[in-house]
């Protein structure tokens, strides 16, 4: 029974893929609009055997990770300070909550004018989009530190820096990683869209290039690569979380 449960998600995905292949091969829809999975798979294989295309994936990854890393550094700093300082929270909270819903992608033309059409404008936008979930989650975590732990540390004569390092940061870490898990796919989405809007390289550019060539199979292959990269990045974040905050491994009980 346990084995069946483990295989169930794969079975569902397999059934969907088989249904796709049957529908695509039925001839009901143009293959230019609805290509078969086998042709998409061929293009995926072609992607991974082309050094030029792998380089495009690397360019996209660099941009996504660059913006994400900057957002992580700034976001953790801001979130922790906001969580531990009423004054800073009062100053920045309205700014973050008031502008969270703003689609930052709409600001991309301005970013192009400020940072140019190269990688910098894309990294800057990824940074901005990733900053919000990281700041907000870190802020929530830093505010939520158990008071008993803080009082205990104070009673034992710990300095403010020691309390921050030994109590606040470890207690906030699960929230920080939750912010990372939200931010990582955001980074991939934003970088691909910016490359689709204005770029001469990267996976977003490849999507547009394939679309302009009416090669839906090739375009979907790039989408598969983007999805795979997003999945791997998420798994990397989960792995890092499990390693770094081993005491917080969650036991989930379904009732």
């Amino acid at each position: 029974m346990a084995a069946i449960n483990r295989l169930l998600p794969f079975g569902f995905v397999a059934a969907l893929l088989v249904a796709w292949e049957i529908a695509a091969r039925s001839g009901r829809w143009s293959k230019l609009l609805f290509p078969s999975l086998s042709s998409v798979l061929n293009e995926v294989v072609a992607f991974f055997t082309s050094s030029a295309l792998l380089m495009e994936a690397w360019v996209t990854l660099e941009r996504a990770l660059g913006g994400f890393a900057l957002a992580a550094v700034v976001g953790i700093l801001l979130g922790v300070v906001m969580g531990r300082s009423k004054f800073v929270a009062g100053l920045l909270d309205p700014l973050f909550s008031g502008t969270y819903a703003v689609p930052k992608l709409a600001l991309f033309p301005i970013f192009i004018f400020v940072f140019g059409i190269g990688s910098l404008s894309k990294v800057a936008l990824v940074f901005l989009e990733c900053l919000y979930p990281i700041v907000i989650m870190t802020y929530a975590g830093a505010r939520d530190v158990n008071r008993a732990l803080l009082w205990s540390a104070q009673n034992m004569g710990a300095s403010r820096a020691a309390i921050l390092r030994r109590v606040v940061i470890p207690a906030t870490a699960p929230f920080i990683f939750a912010g990372f898990r939200v931010a990582v796919p955001v980074a991939m989405i934003v970088v691909v869209i910016t490359e689709m809007v204005s770029s001469a390289d990267g996976l977003g550019y490849r999507v547009i290039y394939a679309m302009a060539s009416l090669r839906t199979d090739r375009m979907l292959a790039v989408v598969v690569v983007i999805a795979a990269l997003g999945y791997l990045l998420d798994k990397a974040v989960v792995l890092a979380r499990d390693r770094l905050i081993y005491w917080e491994k969650l036991d989930t009980y379904y009732v």
Binding site: L32, L33, F113, I117, S199, A200, I208, A212, S213, L214
Partner: protein, 322 residues
Amino acid sequence: MARTLLFLTGILFLGNSLAAGPLIRLGRGFAAEEQLWLMSARPDLAPNQGKRYELKQILFQANPERFQAYLAGELDAGTAPGLAIIFGSAQGMDFKLVASICLEAAGKQYFTTQYMVKDDGPIKSVKDLKGGTIGVVGIKTATDLWARAGLLNAGLVPDQDTKVVPMAFPVIGDAVRTGKVSAGVFVEPFYSAEMAKGGLRKLFTATEAVGYDHELLDLFFSEKFLKANPDAVRAFLADYVAVTRYYLANTAQAKADLHKAGFVRTPLEIYLRNSDWKRTPDARVDVGSLEKLAVFMREKLQWLEKPVNVREMVDQSYLPTR
């Protein structure tokens, strides 16, 4: 009594639907298709409309979306640049190019797409674009093709020596002025607006880059629709040619009508002053220029994986005889 009424109503509906002719769902763009828009803005100029065919024009911002709608069966016909039709043909799309809309042509009386640089900038010739960037409106569009042709003419390798980057028409002027791109592509009405602001100078034109006059925009129909409704297509194209002639003879009035009908948003006084692309009064397609473009796309740009038989994708038999 009720049966008789029902019968008469049925006859009436049948009569109306037969009289109106089939509906042509036509995907259009947002630039340089004046005579086609005029068919909807001034239906009085198209006497067959409403009798032998009905026309519904649907606006699309870009070619891929228009082709996707066509492939999904939502369109019977559309407008597209010659090179987009070549791409579609290479991928086995079942359509025929039936008439020309406009051409990129040399000559002072015509507008041809311009590539411009900063007037006081360091780019004096195309060769100076080495290490720089050209702004175009889309990857694998006509503006991309001309940019690459211009670079190749100057001995530069596109993407390697000079980056070709897509950006929206409205921002290209400022992008060139602020040095974000070394050169950019300009079409009307942006060209006139940017020239009025000053500070930009021509580097090369589309016709100079390619070296000959060539088809810019064309009209295509699905083969299925052509086979099912040949008379409706003939009637539509007869109107189209008549409206094209009217447009060429009464350009100012036609432009004013299009502006009034909301097809054009540029201020009327600027729109009236803009020079126009070349439009042939008989709407005949310059097949030779498309053949040359197809060879260039395959051999110089490697944009086509296999040769395209351009003559096979063009069918001008539905146009009125000269």
